[in-house]
């Protein structure tokens, strides 16, 4: 808790909390204090936290929907092209466009593409893989994946002022406050 000294580059200031409830409250108050660029770090998903932070998005669901739609159309078209246009084959007198027979593979293609959409979409929107991130410079952060809950106000926030942020975080009653070097 030494007073702020001149660091070469500052990513933000981070506070450590003991329980998820404290973190939710802290996030609510951070948002109410007018900070926009801040993030919370938790060992498991905490329900109510993103709401407290004021984050709302549905990019992943939309990506999954579009990928699923693409998969269904692509796999159905593939079967129609191969079985009707490119190499029509008479199987037991069925129509060449015997579409009910194409549904199982259409469905599987939909699921396959949608699943890749969910997996890759989640990673891509999260900016992962991220080989380096400043938050890992904080020694206490090693427990962020075990049993500690962190809130970091980032230096790029328009309201960011080192001393004011410091005082504000202290008012949240955290276990510790650390500067995050970029």
């Amino acid at each position: 808790m030494a007073h702020v000294e001149t660091a070469p580059q500052l990513y933000g200031i981070m506070a450590e909390f003991e329980t998820p409830e404290q973190l939710i409250e802290a996030a609510e108050r951070t948002r109410a204090a007018g900070y926009k660029k801040f993030d919370c770090y938790t060992p498991f998903p905490i329900h109510g936290l993103v709401e407290a932070m004021g984050v709302e998005e549905a990019k992943v669901p939309w990506t999954v929907f579009i990928c699923g739609l693409f998969g269904a159309i692509a796999f159905f078209s593939l079967q129609v092209y191969t079985s009707v246009i490119d190499y029509p084959l008479n199987v037991g007198g069925r129509d060449f466009l015997s579409w009910p027979y194409f549904i199982p593979i259409t469905f599987e293609g939909m699921v396959l593409c949608a699943a890749f959409g969910a997996f890759i979409g989640m990673l891509a929107y999260n900016g992962l893989p991220a080989p380096y991130h400043p938050v890992f410079n904080v020694p206490q952060f090693a427990r962020a994946s075990t049993d500690r809950f962190f809130l970091c106000i980032e230096a790029k926030d328009p309201n960011f002022d080192r001393n004011r942020v410091y005082e504000f975080l202290q008012s949240l009653n955290p276990l510790s406050i650390s500067e995050v070097e970029a």
Binding site: P20, E21, A27, D39, C40, Y41, T42, P43, F44, P45, I46, H47, G48, L49, V50, M53, V55, E57, A58, K59, V60, P61, V64, G68, F75, L78, Q79, T82, S83, Y87, L89, V91, R94, Y101, P104, I105, E108, G109, V111, L112, A114, A115, A118, F119, G121, M122, L123, Y125, N126, L128, P129, A130, Y132, V135, A142, R143, A144, S145, T146, D147
Partner: protein, 478 residues
Amino acid sequence: MQEAIKPKVQEFPLFEGQQTYERITDQIARIPENPHPPAWTVMFGIGAVGTLMLITSLVWLLIVGLGIWGINQPVAWGFAIINFVWWIGIGHAGTLISAILLLLRQAWRMSINRFAEAMTIFAVMCAGLFPLFHTGRPWVAYWLFPLPNWLAMWPQFRSPLEWDVFAVSTYFTVSVLFWYMGLIPDLATMRDRAKSTLAKVIHGILSWGWRGSAVHWLRYEQAYLLLAGLSTPLVLSVHSIVSLDFAISIVPGWHVTIFPPYFVAGAIFSGFAMVLTLVIPFRILYPGLREYITMNHIDWMAKVMLATGWIVFYGYLSEMFFGWYSANQFEQFLVVNRFFGPYWLAYWALIFCNGVVPQLLWIPKIRHNLLLLFIISIIVNIGMWFERFVIVVISLHRDFLTSAWGQYAPTIWDWSLYLGTIGFFIMMMFLFARFVPMLAIAELKDIWHRLYHGHGGHNGHAGKHAPAPAPTGKGGES
């Protein structure tokens, strides 16, 4: 999200002993971190020997050809398809636990989903081998995919066998994605705990630099829930399509409409049996797991087995009914041939293993006796294998014309390949236990927080700490 199950939670605790976030992490993460117990080496060795047998069987198969197997006309499917359906059915319980129970908001799945998903992946690996090598020329298996090739031919998309290719490969891919996505936060935990640089680097790469940001968790949960939503119809479709391999034909005993639901129920039945077969010894090998896979979990799994066992048994009864009601002499003959034909032993073994033995699970004392439960689960596994034997062999060996009747007997190579896949499965399960957190750490902490530790806000319910510990080991009460 867990509102519905909250009142029950005090009565049926999901955790034993006093838990903290740190304890949950430590109990699970230290298993791969610490040296393995001696029993691990023994089991891994058994698995490795089985894997060598598998490799030998496959190499010999490639050198000589399919003639080393017992298949011939009229029973051309034999062990390959029996084992394929058996393994893929086992895999289905993993998806059921991870996806369907998630959608049904069953909090108890959190303790077993990672484990069961791993089981799914390895079981599907074993399953995939059989049809691949049953094609006779596995080196041109890519013909099954719609790739432009020098034959200028496309796959036959109207065939359920072709649907199988897409269903099983999609199922495997999606299962791996689902499993791996669940692992990412836990691998990050392993990375943060790692002492050696090598372990840090490996876990760092595998966890993609996961840092647990709240916004990341939001997207992660959205993706996870959607994957569960996609896997649920997927798993139903996979075994339905497997059953259509049979049901679309006109072979007596196969051409029945009950096949898809009956196969799916059978898959879940055998899969839960396999989960129990694995969980019970793993709890002994790693006592730390007992705090998370409690007697309540085991009890519930046994109940699911009992319920799905009845659905399967209903399937057997309706097959008899179909045989009679069809007024078709071939269908009627099939039923009689099952009862009293040359393979009567397989049929009655099936009825005994899947119909009679699981009824013991009505008795709570038996559901809490790990040894008996272990034995019952093995019997169910055997019974489900006989079910596929009955379906494949009895229907094929005597169909329409008596001149085309024949007999089927597996050869030593059939057995060595089958036992080899079991060895491979054991080896993979023990490797999994050695290197990967066996239970989903983040999900367990989440559920523990929500059920027992939450206070204030949207989590306003009693119980700051885990309830009084239930008796451990054998005879935990419910």
